[in-house]
Symmetry: C2
Subunit: 252 residues, 2 copies
């Protein structure tokens, strides 16, 4: 059991029990208590839990978004395929708006070596794109959400209002015909809306697990999306319903 598996186990335990103990985790994982403590300290640094004597308590209230480092490990294959498909939707020279999130981060990796103009809505996405050194980077301003590194607030909206894009690539937390497109953070919601206003075409990149979920913040009805790229695990009836709303659905 390597460090990644251990972390996943700890997070799973925290979700079920709300708290964990060092001794119990050491037995379960088969590693020393010192190693468990180091794992817990690491997760504490990500804001996942709070250390207490003998163990840790969860900082993940139900109904709230799991932290970045956790989400990045969810459905990585699907996200990679989706990112690849989104990359093919973007032509060279286009101006692209790239949302924050783990799926769009993967899209950024796909676009990093392309010759396009990109405005990322996340510091992490910006990092990936600047490493590529070929894309023209137009940074959005805004307040940086700690942990997420997404950009929100009036400065971010002002940045979006100042530019027009060929394509906006958005992520989301939940998606259904009944409930529309939803996200956890209300600040992010406002930005997604502004992003849609600034782009001629809106592409939503969402793996199939999102189709079953509804988050607190309402972004827009499904029909406002132009293209949805998801994976082949998406249930047929959901895909049919979303298509019926006028969305081009692509399953990869």
């Amino acid at each position: 059991m390597d460090s990644v598996e251990r972390m996943d186990l700890i997070v799973a335990r925290l979700r079920e029990e709300g708290e964990v103990t060092v001794v119990e985790l050491a037995e379960t994982t088969g590693h020393s208590e010192m190693t468990v403590r180091r794992d817990l300290d690491h997760l504490a640094g990500q804001g996942v839990l709070r250390r207490v004597r003998g163990g840790a308590v969860s900082l993940l209230p139900r109904g709230q978004e799991p932290p970045y480092a956790i989400r990045e490990r969810q459905a990585p294959d699907a996200k990679r395929r989706i990112a690849e498909a989104v990359g093919e939707l973007i032509g060279d020279g286009q101006a692209v708006l790239l949302d924050s999130g783990t799926t769009t981060l993967q899209v950024a990796r796909e676009l990093a070596e392309r010759h396009i103009t990109v405005m990322p809505l996340s510091l992490q996405v910006a990092q990936v794109l600047s490493d590529g050194r070929t894309a023209r980077l137009l940074m959005a301003g805004g307040e940086v959400r700690v942990g997420e590194l997404s950009l929100i607030g009036p400065l971010a909206e002002a940045s979006l209002n100042a530019v027009r894009f060929d394509t906006a690539v958005l992520g989301c937390c939940g998606l259904s015909v009944a409930e529309g497109v939803t996200a956890y953070d209300l600040g992010d919601v406002a930005i997604k809306r502004a992003a849609m206003r600034s782009a001629r075409r809106v592409v939503l990149a969402a793996d199939s697990t999102k189709l079953a979920q509804v988050a607190m913040g309402y972004v827009c009805p499904v029909g406002d999306i132009d293209v949805l790229v998801t994976d082949t695990d998406a249930p047929d009836e959901a895909v049919a319903a979303i298509s019926a709303a006028g969305v081009v659905v692509q399953c990869v």
Copy 2:
């Protein structure tokens, strides 16, 4: 001779001769030709040189700014001391504007664990601050200069106009009473000016090597600076002249 020394040697040769050969470098450094080639490829990736058969030619025209990776190794001790002193000038809870550059990057490392509000004018500085997770990060928008990762252009100016700061911590490329504060890139110059307009107090962080230099872009007269933090190698007459212009000079 480790890889850092080799790179420095290669850059020095490029500055003197304008070009280098693989064979000669292999002899001088005492390493294999393959290693030299890998070094050259690495520097080519940073935009320092262009590979040609048998060697490489410089991409560093005189009068232009050396690339980031090179500057970061210049006077690192002085920069650290300066950064520490600048950190002491910043009180908790303040709103701080942080310029791009290698000296201000060091300042960012100093401020990363503080509880302040910071607007960085560089992606790299933003990266450092977001790692700290204590500072409130207000990202400036703007076009990202490739290689430098500094933010320039109208979006950046708009971000600066939208906020007011207690302190602006600026870097520069050249500084003298006769020629004022100067920088290489004209885009950066405009941003530095806007930054000064948005801050009650302007702190310039510049190691003593900057006192002898003049760059192309004129930012402002020396007297517009409130505090200059430099190192103890600064010549006394220069310090006296700058003080006479009404600047509080601190040598560390």
